[in-house]
Each structure stands twice: as C-alpha cells, then as structure tokens.
C-alpha cells in the first residue's frame, strides 16, 4: 500500500485501535444530527419564538402570564406535584432497587419482572387502573362502606392525592432502574471491607452503599421530576379540572383557545425553570461527591 493511501486511511478511519478519527466520528453522527436539528430543534425554536415574536417582537405574552394568578397556581401545583412524586418514588423505589440488587436467581427475576412489565403497558391503561381503586364504586370505597367506616362514598378520584399516587406508580420504574444500576456497580468487597473494619450492617449502608448509590438516585430523581412536570394524561383524567397541571394548561391554550403565543410563553417558562432546577441539582450533587461523605 502506498504511503499516501496509508495516511488517508489513518486520517479517515482510526487514530488508534481504541479511537476513531474525528472525520469518521462526525460522518457517523451526521445523519442523526441532521434529523435532530430538522425534526426536533428547529420546530421547538420556531414554536418557542412565537412567545416573543408574535405578531411583532413583544413581551406582552409573558406580561399576561405574570398578571394571572391562576397561571401561577397551576405552575406551583405542577412543581409541587413533581417534587412530591419524586420523593414518594424515591422512598418506595430505593428499597425495591436495593432488594433487586441483593437477591439472586428466581427472586431477582421476579422482582425485575414486576418492575419492568408495567413499562410495556400504555400510560392510559395504567391510569385507568386507579379508577378501579379510587372510583366512587371502586375497591376502597366499597371496602370502607362494607366495613361501615363511612356511609357515603368518599371523593377519592379527582383529588391531588390521587394524582400523586397514580403518577408515583407510573414513574416508579424510572426511579428504580438507575438506582439498581448504581447499586449493582458497587464492588461487593467494599461492603465486606467496611464490615471487616468495624462497621455494622447499618453502618455499611450509611457510609458505603448509600453514598455510592447517589449518582443513581440523582439520575432517577431528575428523570422522575422532569417527566412528572410534563405529565398530561394522568393529571387530566384523575385530577380533573381542579387539579390541572401545566401540560394540560398549555394544551388547552393551544388547542382550545388557539392562543399559540401564550402556549409558547408558558412552555418557555416551564423549560427555563426546569433547566434551572436540574442545573442546581447537578451542582449540589457534584459538590457532595467531591467532598466525600464527610465526617
């Protein structure tokens, strides 16, 4: 092979056995990049720009939002719901992930199936399941009346609590899986070392397992939080109009009132606040890791 052909190959294909050349890397990424730009980034930019460009450059749409306390109530409710759902999913999900990471064989498979199978069922179905529990003639009301605890069916559906429960249940796998992955990545001899050095089982968990699983907790929490902010079907069906969340509001603005600039302004606000929270969260966590678990 000629020296020139050789240098072209080297330029285009591989720098070393472990690393492709820059040219090849970009060539391989390009199709996806083009698709993302054309079908995702551009429409979003176009849509969001409506909030300040329609009909001419203006901040009127934002001003309108700031004026309406109704919007603020919904925004606040959205973030409150996100926070509560994240905390509930964490409290329920961590023990499951821990169990999953620490059992073997059939049990591990069974738990994994319970966690993952619901992901294959549509969110709509998983939402409607809650009617069977919480509806006027649902299981809980029937049981409570049968036992004589109440004599009128309680209003369980169309409450914020019902939304929290349903969303937590739906988002639980998203919390469990990253935590499970980070727990499995902890070398088992670390626990043994800690125990051999004098830590009790609780001490091993507190000082070794928990801190080392925090990246998984962070990933799960951020995912659940962000996904819950955009939840649409579940709050609409289970929460009803009195528990409206921002995704429903945006949809109504766009489809019912055909006020696209207003919908764009709301979307922008949602996006900015979400990004800010994620960045702050990331910062806090990284700092925590650098400082270790401290004394």
């Amino acid at each position: 092979m000629s020296a020139r052909a050789d240098s072209v190959r080297r330029y285009f294909f591989a720098v070393t056995a472990q690393q492709y050349s820059r040219a090849l890397t970009w060539t391989l990424i390009a199709p996806l990049l083009v698709l993302l730009l054309a079908a995702f980034v551009w429409p979003i930019v176009k849509f969001l720009s409506l909030s300040v460009l329609d009909p001419s450059p203006t901040l009127a749409h934002f001003a309108e939002i700031f004026d309406r306390t109704f919007y603020w109530t919904i925004l606040l409710r959205t973030f409150r719901t996100g926070l509560i759902v994240t905390v509930m999913a964490l409290l329920l999900g961590y023990p499951v992930a821990y169990l999953m990471a620490n059992v073997r064989g059939l049990w591990a498979a069974a738990i994994a199936a319970i966690v993952i199978l619901p992901l294959w069922i549509s969110i709509l179905v998983r939402t409607f399941v809650w009617f069977i529990f919480l509806g006027r003639t649902g299981l809980i009301n029937k049981a409570a009346m049968g036992l004589g605890i109440v004599d009128q069916p309680m209003r369980l559906i169309n409450t914020e609590v019902a939304v929290w429960l349903a969303m937590t249940q739906i988002l639980l796998p998203v919390m469990i899986l990253p935590i499970y992955a980070s727990l499995r990545a902890i070398p088992p001899e670390l626990g043994k070392a800690a125990e051999g050095l004098g830590a009790s089982k609780a001490g091993v968990f507190r000082h070794v397992i928990l801190p080392l699983s925090l990246p998984g907790v962070a990933a799960g929490a951020v995912l659940v939080f962000i996904m819950s902010l955009g939840f649409f079907i579940t709050p609409m069906l289970i929460g009803g109009p009195r528990s409206m969340m921002i995704a429903t509001l945006i949809t109504e603005q766009a489809t019912k009132f055909l006020d696209w600039p207003e919908a764009a302004a709301l979307s922008t606000i949602l996006m900015v606040i979400t990004l800010a929270i994620v960045i702050v969260f990331n910062r806090a966590l990284r700092l925590d890791r650098v400082m270790g678990s401290g004394a």
Binding site: K192, A193, A194, E195, G196, G198, H207, P211, G292, A295
Partner: protein, 362 residues
C-alpha cells in the same frame, strides 16, 4: 488525648481453629481443618486455586459461618460473632478502598466506626500514613494513586486501630513482580513493628517462604502440612507438598528389602539405596528429589544413570535433563562449571545423599 494513641504497638491475638468444615451444598470447600496460630505469628495459607484458602480466611473474619467446628481469636470463641465485632484488620486483593473518600478518610474509617474522632483520629491517621510512607497523600483521591500506593493505603487502614489480628487475602496479587517483592518486605517489617498476628493467603510459594513464620500448605480443602518454611521445603510430608513447593523430580518405582531398603525404578533395571531410618513402606512408591540436590557423576560408579536429553543454560547453573528409564526423566540443576564437557546423548550418573531423597507411597 490518650497517651497510647500514637504509638502503634499492639499485641497479637492467638487464633485457634478446631475441626473447621465448610460446605456449599454438595461442595466441601474445607474439610476438618485444625490450625493454631500463636500470638504475633505470621502464618501463610498456601495452596493452589480452589484449595479453600479464602474460605478459611472468610470464616476467621466472620463473613462465612462454618458448617462445623469453631474459631477462637484471642482465647474467645467468635464462631458466631459478626465481622464488625471481631476487631480484625482486613486487606483484600483488590484493595477495596472506598472511592468516595479521600486517602485520609479511608484510613480514618475504622476509627470513625469506633467513635474515635477529632485530634486523636487525625494524629492516628497521620501516623498510619507515615508508617506506610505516604505522608502528604492524605487529601488525595484513591483513584489518583498507583496500585502499590493503593495497597499501602489499604494496609494503613487495616492497621490504624491496632487490630490484634490482620487477615490478608492475596494482598499483592494485583501488583507486578518488583513491587510485590518490595511490598513483601514492607508488610513483614510493619507486622514485626506492630506485633499483630497475621494470617496471609497466597498462592505464590516464594511469597509464603519469604514472609511467613509458618506455612499451612493446603490442597483439596485440607491442610497438607503445617510448619516453618524450612521444614516445608526440606521435609515435605507428602508428595503433594513436595511437588507444590519448589522444583521436585518424581521417580515412580517400588520399595523392596527390609534392613537395607532399595528403590527399584519402574521401566528400568536400576536400583537406588534408600536411607533405612526413614523406613519407607514396601510396595509401589514415588521418590522425590530436588534438582539442586543432584550432582552429575561417573555413569559407571553411580547407582543411577541415564542419557542426557536436554541442557538448559540458566546463568550460574545448568539444568540437565537425564532419562533414567522408560518414563522417568530426572532434572539435575548443577553449577555451570560441573556441566562443562557434558554433551547431549552422553551417559551421566546421578548422585545424591540418600537422606535427602523422600519416598512417598503411591
């Protein structure tokens, strides 16, 4: 502050293992093991892979519960005590340093678990760092250290609270040869300084021979021989130990004759006189002789002789492979000067002191 806190003198605890047995389902990992370790003694568990070394260590540490038998540390029966209550120091093959803690936090971990904090903990951590010659590394992250440094941190962490018993499972297995030899001396030096009892698992015989006061040679879940390195090397008590430690020639044959026993080599007419006092049993046996104990002699005047098949030059010595019968090739490691003039295909006599050969039943 406590006056004794900075000096690292601990007294070792004796270890007594009696009738230890460990099964995993149908697999018997350890069979009826008895092992006494004196206070301050350095004992190596040496054996091939799967021989049960780690299992024994883990039952001493408390991570495995024996199927039968008992473990005593410092005169106290600890068979059912959890690991964190046994007051042991542990060092693992892959260091097992906590990646989310700095070097100093790692070393301070056992102190924290014992509710020792503040100035005393700091002084002790500093002393432990100095002991493994890593002064000034306290604030580093463990990932910023070389393998040898990480293992020294693991050692400091295990020694910082003066445990009377230190357990190590192939602590140098992940290091390269030079570093390993350096660390062997360092560990030995530290152990002598702090006086702790050490049980040390290795499958590297030179490591065991260099470091240990006594070696327990293991195979198939049993202790094959337990004694000082010299005794293990010079008087192996069975063919496994003779073959596992150092280089050994095995010659198959039969022992015959009462008062003046001889060893008849299978597949040849040759006979070798044996030491009568060893009183080897008559019948099929196996003779073991170390290559460096054999000299080359005049084929006519020697009891055993054969054809030189191979000569491998090794600096100061030459390894001569001599075929003495149908099946048996004996290797003699002789000074290079003695091999001058010996050619491939020559006949050579093989001579050794009768009492240096061991005969084991077959």
């Amino acid at each position: 502050m406590n006056a004794i806190s900075t000096d690292m003198v601990a007294t070792g605890a004796p270890v007594a293992i009696r009738g230890l047995e460990k099964r995993y389902g149908a697999v018997v990992a350890v069979h009826q093991v008895d092992l006494e370790v004196k206070a301050g003694e350095f004992v190596a568990l040496l054996g091939p892979s799967g021989s049960g070394k780690t299992t024994i260590l883990m039952t001493i540490a408390g991570f495995e519960t024996p199927t039968a038998g008992s473990i005593g540390i410092g005169g106290r029966d600890v068979t059912v005590l959890p690991p964190n209550r046994r007051n042991i120091g542990m060092v693992f093959q892959r260091y097992a340093l906590f990646p989310h803690m700095t070097v100093a936090e790692n070393i301070g971990f056992p102190l924290r678990m014992r509710k020792i904090g503040g100035a005393e903990a700091r002084t002790r951590v500093e002393a432990a760092l100095a002991m493994v010659r890593l002064e000034g590394y306290g604030d580093r992250r463990t990932s910023q250290l070389s393998g040898g440094q990480q293992q020294r941190v693991a050692l400091a962490r295990a020694l910082v609270y003066n445990p009377p018993l230190l357990l190590m499972d192939e602590p140098l297995g992940a290091l390269d040869k030079n570093l390993r030899e350096e660390m062997q001396l360092e560990i030995k030096r530290l152990q002598q300084r702090v006086g702790a009892t050490v049980v040390y698992v290795t499958h590297d015989q030179s490591e065991a021979l260099t470091m240990a006061d006594r070696i327990a040679v293991m195979d198939g879940g049993r202790i094959q021989q337990y004694g000082p390195p010299r005794e293990i090397y010079d008087s192996p008590s069975n063919a496994f130990v003779a073959g596992f430690i150092g280089e050994t020639n095995f010659i198959d044959g039969h022992v015959a004759g009462g008062a003046k026993p001889v060893f008849a080599v299978d597949g040849s007419e040759q006979k070798v006189a044996l030491e009568a006092s060893g009183a080897p049993r008559e019948g099929p046996s196996r003779l073991a002789i170390r290559p460096e104990l054999i000299r080359l002699g005049d084929p006519a005047g020697s009891e055993l002789s054969g054809t030189v098949e191979e000569m491998i030059y090794g600096g100061g010595t030459v390894a001569c492979h001599v075929r003495v019968g149908n099946g048996a090739v004996v290797m003699a490691r002789v000074p290079a000067a003695d091999a001058i003039g010996v050619r491939l295909g020559d006949r050579a006599g093989l001579v050794w002191q009768a009492d240096r050969a061991k005969v084991f039943p077959r």
